[in-house]
Point group: C2
């Protein structure tokens, strides 16, 4: 059976953007893991996308597959899209093309003009190419990224798009939350997600699948679909699309940990 | 400054081949690391290649960048091509698309019909598309792979191509050779390489660079050029093209080691 793959950056302007990305002169290495390279997107760049998702920054799994929002957060976003009725017609970009080295570093650079300028070229490219009808920002920096786009000259004169600013899907467990705190925060977040999904369903004039049922008070397996192989580069092992915890930063010191990513085929995968 | 990247598998027949590759039913998982996915090629699939290189199988670095012959062996092959006068116009494929789990496993499957059939589709695609004038096999299995192509129906009626069967570039240090043994084997190998380079230079009707000087008795830094960024996927960190030892299999047991690849930014790379 054929296995789909992401064709990458073949058309304008994405081919040019993938050859001309900002480096450590724009993204300071003290605050971004520029050594792992930029990671640009996930999803359809071929003109079929209806929803634009904005995330924050790539983590270690993303540095391996070189597409954003795979792993735990990625599956949560994928489930969100399923509930909207979208299985293929989305584009996901991040606020930052490099991994932030600490959340405060991410916060510090949200106003940087050159970072925003490059990101806005991606947004313009997506909007020029695809009939986007809704934009979803996951996390506070993603919301600011979209607002920076709206304030930019390139956004002038374009039709207003439905916009949702939502909590980042892994935010309930961030910052050392207790299990009870995380459960409560998850329930609150999923209620917000459900309300947003209802509004987005009302806006989209075309979907590509029957919408999945809304969330309950906690994530279930049904809420966490696999990352489609069509989103990943050719030859990517299937477990990178189905499993969540297969890459981690390892090392006894912060310096070694920054330099080291360990990939492990999960125990659930038989060899 | 723009950073080139490999466009991947966009045209016929490579797009189809990258979607329809043999799995564990053809490559038994006892003998091949199928869990890391297939890795197909490196170099030009756009019709400009003059030299076809055949290697053996992908190692751990290759599983990360998803192109073959990077790292130590890759830089040695790249240097060989420089000495021929070729910087861009080559295609590299492997005998096996999956990593062999032990050399005896590689030896055991060199006659497998289904493995050869898929490999021959790649060879046919390269020869149909590109004006290949010389074929270089590195290692005994690669030589057999080319011979299996010549014996196949798809090879019938095609013009004969200049062919060189050479030792694999890392073979001098294989099998627990002493330093003295490795040095002697390297000198012998490089003499063979020099002779082959002379013959290939005589065959090629077009090159794309001034040929680099021939080898001495040992590899020097000049013999080990970087892997071109144009051969690697978009966003690949530059050190993956310039450094040799950045991925290793780790683990206290053979089972864990098979499941685990650790990537480390080399100490020579400043952060």
């Amino acid at each position: 059976m054929p296995i789909d793959f992401c064709p990458g950056y073949t058309g304008s302007p994405f081919k040019t953007l993938a050859r001309n990305y900002p480096g450590a002169d724009v993204y300071p290495s003290a605050d971004f893991r520029t050594e792992w390279g930029p990671i640009f997107h996930r999803g359809r760049l071929n003109g079929t996308a209806r929803v634009l998702v904005i995330g924050q920054d790539p983590a270690q799994s993303e540095a391996v597959v070189r597409r954003i929002l795979v792993g735990n957060a990625g599956k949560r976003v994928q489930g969100f899209l399923h509930k909207v009725g979208i299985r293929k017609r989305y584009v996901i970009i991040n606020t930052y093309i490099y991994s932030v080295f600490g959340q405060q570093a991410g916060n510090a650079h949200i106003g940087d003009a050159q970072i925003a300028a490059y990101r806005n070229l991606w947004i313009a490219g997506v909007l020029d190419k695809s009939p986007i009808e809704a934009v979803v920002a996951f996390g506070g920096l993603a919301r600011k990224a979209w607002e920076a786009w709206l304030d930019s000259p390139a956004a002038v004169g374009r039709p207003a798009l439905h916009f949702e600013a939502l909590p980042h899907p892994t935010s309930p467990t961030a910052g050392g939350a207790s299990d009870a705190q995380a459960a409560a925060a998850t329930a609150t977040m999923l209620a917000k997600y459900n309300a947003a999904i209802g509004r987005i369903r009302g806006v989209l004039t075309a979907t590509d699948a029957i919408a999945s049922p809304l969330y309950g008070n906690a994530f279930t397996d049904d809420d966490l679909p696999d990352i489609p192989m069509m989103d990943l580069p050719p030859g990517t092992p299937a477990w990178m699309s189905t499993e969540e915890e297969w890459a981690k930063r390892v090392g006894d010191t912060a310096a070694i940990k920054r330099r080291t990513i360990q990939i492990a085929v999960p125990p659930a995968v038989p060899l």
